[in-house]
Each structure stands twice: as structure tokens, then as C-alpha cells.
Amino acid sequence: MMEEKFDFSKAEDQKEFEGLPSEEKKEIIEEAHLEAEEINKSRDEKISEKEKLPEKEKIIDHFKTELLKIKDIKQNTGRQKAFKINTCLELINHWLPFGNLDNFEGIQEGLSVIKEINHDNKMILQAGEDIVNEMAFQFREWNEDESVKIKIIRDFINFAMGGKKPEKQKIKGPSEIAPGQIQIEKKEETKTNIRKDSPIKLNITYEDIERIKKEMKEAKKAKADKEQIWIIKETKTLLSYIFDDKRDKTLSSVSQILAMAGVNYKKFQPLITDEIESQNTHNTTLKTVFNIEEKTKEERLNLFIQEKMKKGALPALPLKIEFYEKQIIEKLTKEGLDPEEIATLLAVIEEYGKCAKDEKSAERMKKLKEKIETIIKKEKEEETPEAVIQAKEFIKGKEEKDKKEPIWKGVTGGMIGFSLLLFLILFLLGEIKLTEKLSGLDIISKK
């Protein structure tokens, strides 16, 4: 940019300018116009560059902008903090179905924002679990090397749930300890916040737990003194540590989802399954993973769908429909979708099916149906060659004979008909729910 000759906010510069010969004045004004044009041009270019971004980049850019806005929210009072956390959780929720587009980096950044404000482990653990499960669900569509993806999942688990505890602190599984006895081998640096002077022994038995529980009840009745209340709290922490390890559960869940997605266990076992600390959970998980691997592709697909519906994140905005439509159409013209990709989409569709039941959607659905009926009626009036009708019936009949087989298998060896149906359903649901555009996703401004 050209250096400013005159600063017109200053009286002396204005005076100097006024004193210049008219030719020189004209020249300066023209220069200023040119410069303004340059600035406008560069701004317009920046805007259109953004518009030209591929769908994937647009989505990442949109969520990143939202995250920046959230980071700017003040957090001086409890109320502000709560608002910031909730907004951030909402953003993560929206972002989750697209997490793989940037290797879940943005989502992790979002979780860091929450972590900085609130150290409530429960909330972080829950959000972490949802994110990690989704990483496994998106494994197939996630465009990255398998080993990199597995490492990202493991690292994220460590980030959200803490790393693996040193070997000496490991809790032994029931098969390794005497019946009725639970052991923690090291007294210090355990996950619990037990004080060194705690009256609770670190080599405890079920009898001890029962006794403490009984004492807790009695202590409550007798309006327990501080020491007794402290015992209650410590025992609760200890019990939750022993019986409810979220990290192990998540690692187990991820291992199973990956197996359902058709990933060979040898690839994820060292970094995911072997990170499970409880021997019992480790053994059970491996057994389940082997069982899944023995299943047929279709059986695995069914399991995957069911799991995705229970635990997966589902896109909930039209922007995402457009994204999936594009994905399907691209694949449609090539070789069809993978069963795993289809499973993900099925879960999406199921969610939209639910949305379609509300009153407003039902009204839109009615109108859409009327439009389609007009098209169908017109179509039937047109004459179709007999050979075409018979070919159509043959293709449809083939499908009826064997419902498990997708149509077109004989033609392309792929799942074209199935993908096409997915496209149609997404399109219909998009039409029913199509009320918000990209700009309408602005989470903060909606508040």
C-alpha cells in the first residue's frame, strides 16, 4: 500500500492540501481513489476465495470461526463460564459428524476450552467418550493412513481421559486375585485423592467395603463428625475408581467398533485394546473382537449400524445433508459405497426419519408428496417402450428374489441402486427440513 502523504484528520495537513495547485490536488485525489479500489478488490477476492473453498474446507472453516467466537466469550462469573461451556459443548456436538475432516483437531481444541474452565472430570470424560466413539465410527470415511488414525484415537483418549497408569498401579482382574479381594498394589500416586493419613487401607477387601458402608450409614444417623464424613467421600471415590473406569470402557468400546468397521484387530490392538488396564476387561474385549471378526460382512454391518444408532453422532442440519448428498453422488458415478460408509449414512437417515415426524415437517412432507405425485402422474402418461418396462421389471424382480443382495450387483458388482436410494432419501429429508443454510448455523448469534 502507498504511504499516506496527507492525514486529513490533522488540521495542518488539510491546510497544506488546500494550498496545493489544483493539478497536484487532482493527482492526489486520483491516487486515493485507485488505492481504495485496490483495497475493495482485494477484499472481494478474499470473500470469493472463501466461497470457492471446497465443501470440506467450508465446513472446517465454518466450525473454526465458531470456535474462535466461543473463545472470545468472557468467563469472569460462574454464569459466563457455564454459558461458554454449554456453547462449546453444543459446537462439539455439531462438529462431531465432520470431525474426521480435520483429524478431530478442532474438536480437541474445543474440549481444551472446556477443560481450561472446568475440571469436572465427569463432563470431560463423557464428552471424550462420545468423541472417541465417533472417531471409530468415522474410521472408514476418515481420509488418513490407518496407523495415523489409530494413533490419533489413542492420543485423544490420553488427552481426554488421562494416560495409562504405571504398571505397578494396575488393578488386577478377578482371575488374578483371590475371590472377594480387590488389590491396589501401590499406595501413593493413585488416581484417587486419598490422603496419606487416610484411615482407609489400600489393601482392602469386600468385607472392608461392606464394613465402611455400614459405618457410613451409622455415621449419617449419628450426625457424623468431620472425620466420618471425610471417610464417606473417600470411600465413594475409591469405589468409583475400582468399579467404574471410563478409560477402559471407552478403549473396549472403540476396539469393538473398529472391528465392526472391518479394521483388522492386529492394527489397533497394540495402541487401543492393549491400553486397557483391567485384565478382565482386556480379555473380554479381545474375545468380543475375535467374535466380530468371525462374522460375515453383512453381520458386521448390522452390528455397526446398531452400535452407531446407540452411540454415534448424527448430523442434524441441512448443510450436512448437502455434504452427504455430494459424497453419495460422487461415489455413485464410480463404484458404489462401502458397506461401512452406508452404515454411517443409514444412521443419519434414521435420525432424519425421526425429524420428519414433527408437525412442520409433516406439512412440508405433504406438499412434497403432492409435487412428486404430479410428476409420477405425468410420467405414467408418457409411452414407454415395452423392452424398457420388461427390463425394469427384471431388475426389480431380481432384487425381490434375494432381498439381501443389492440390485445392480450383476451389472456393476457394486451397490449402486442402494447408494441411489440413499441419495433420494437424503434429498427428500433435506427438502422437508431445509430451513437453515450455512449462515443459519451460527451458534452464538442464535443465543
Binding site: 410428476i375 417402450p385 415395452e386 423392452a387 424398457v388 450383476g410 442402494f418 434429498f427
Partner: protein, 86 residues
Amino acid sequence: MHKIFLNLLPPELKNIASDLYDIILERSLTRTYQNLDEQTKAKMADIFNSGADGEKNAFLNEYLKDLPAIMAEEAKKLAEEIKTKE
């Protein structure tokens, strides 16, 4: 249509999707049919009228290889048609 897939859909949506699918299939077949020469058209009519399943499959594989791509195009066209219809 795929059993698992269809079971997930609300009945109304299922019927509409099925009808639309029918239109796309018919339009695509008609488009492909019109591009065939007269001799192949006659062959097609013959095979699909009285031929064995094997012959029909072979015909689809030989002459209708591009059908999936055509169906994708027709699906997009139909979607546009519905969107713009008043």
C-alpha cells in the same frame, strides 16, 4: 430395495422413495434404450420378453454398463425438477 435400509424409514417416505426410484430407473433405461441401434433394441425386446435370466444379465452387463452413471445423472435431474416445481 435393501431390507435393513427400508425398515429404518417412515412408511410415507419409503413409498415416495420407492416411486422416485422407479421413475429414475425407467428414465435411465429409456435413455439407454434410445441410444441403442435398431438391431440391439430388437434384441433387448426379445431377451427381456422371453429370454432366460442368464441372457438378461449378460445383456445388462454388455449394453447397459453405463446405467449407474446415467441413473446418478437422472437422480440429480429429478431432484432439481422437484425442487423447482411449483
